[in-house]
């Protein structure tokens, strides 16, 4: 079952895609990840993790409508 979700791009992922935000349709985070990297091959060199609704994802997860997925390159605060 596919759902429409918001995807946010941060840091180097923002620069690689030229986008801050985009809407995608996917059933789970594994397929979403594939869809996004197919559309933006430049993301392949960035070792990003995903957050789902502001929580860092440890394992893949099913998606529901209006979920917010964030593409998070390694943090660089400090």
């Amino acid at each position: 079952m596919e759902a429409e979700v918001r995807v946010l791009f941060f840091g180097a992922a923002q620069e690689a895609t030229g986008r801050t935000e985009e809407t995608f349709r996917a059933g789970d985070t594994a397929s979403l990840r594939r869809i996004i990297t197919d559309k933006y091959p430049s993301l392949a060199i960035i070792p990003f993790r995903l957050a789902l609704n502001r929580t860092m994802l440890k394992d893949d997860s099913d998606l529901e409508k209006n979920d917010v997925i964030a593409i998070l390159p390694p943090f660089q605060g400090g």
């Binding site: 946010l8 941060f10 840091g11 180097a12 923002q14 620069e15 957050a51 502001r54 929580t55 964030a70 998070l72 390159p73 943090f75 660089q76 605060g77 400090g78």
Partner: protein, 133 residues
């Protein structure tokens, strides 16, 4: 301040002194440990850093910073308050981009709690930087 944990631009000496005053009206505090992170004018490939532009996933910063503070307070029972402020936007070389303050009854847990907060900020706060030359 954009929210409790983020400020637009550098953390100025004035803001630092205001934040340090906030944590100081508690006569049970015997130790105040502060860490300030500053932008260095490092040189890479013959180019010198003039500034760093920080960006953040602001909603998640709030969640993660709250979680860091909870963790530090439960790991160090002598710790009384934990404060975390990070910059977003442009911070020039020589200016501060991170402020951490931990107050405690005694020095041991305060200094260790401050260092622990700092390590967790580095590891968990969704903040990114871009060098400007």
């Amino acid at each position: 301040m954009k929210n409790r944990f983020l400020v637009g631009g550098p953390i100025t000496p004035l803001l630092i002194s205001e934040l340090m005053t906030l944590g100081s009206d508690d006569n049970g505090t015997g130790a105040v440990s502060v860490f300030i992170g500053k932008v260095r004018d490092d040189e890479t490939d013959g180019k010198r850093v003039k500034a760093i532009e920080y960006s953040a996933y602001e909603d998640m910063v709030i969640k993660e910073a709250d979680e860091i503070i909870r963790t530090v307070r439960s790991a160090f029972s002598d710790v009384r308050t934990v404060m975390i402020v990070h910059s977003v936007g442009i911070v020039k070389a020589g200016e501060a981009s991170l402020f951490i303050m931990v107050t405690s009854g005694h020095r041991d847990q305060g200094t260790r709690g401050c260092r622990h907060t700092l390590e967790m900020v580095k590891e968990k706060l969704p903040v990114w930087k871009k060098e400007i030359y």
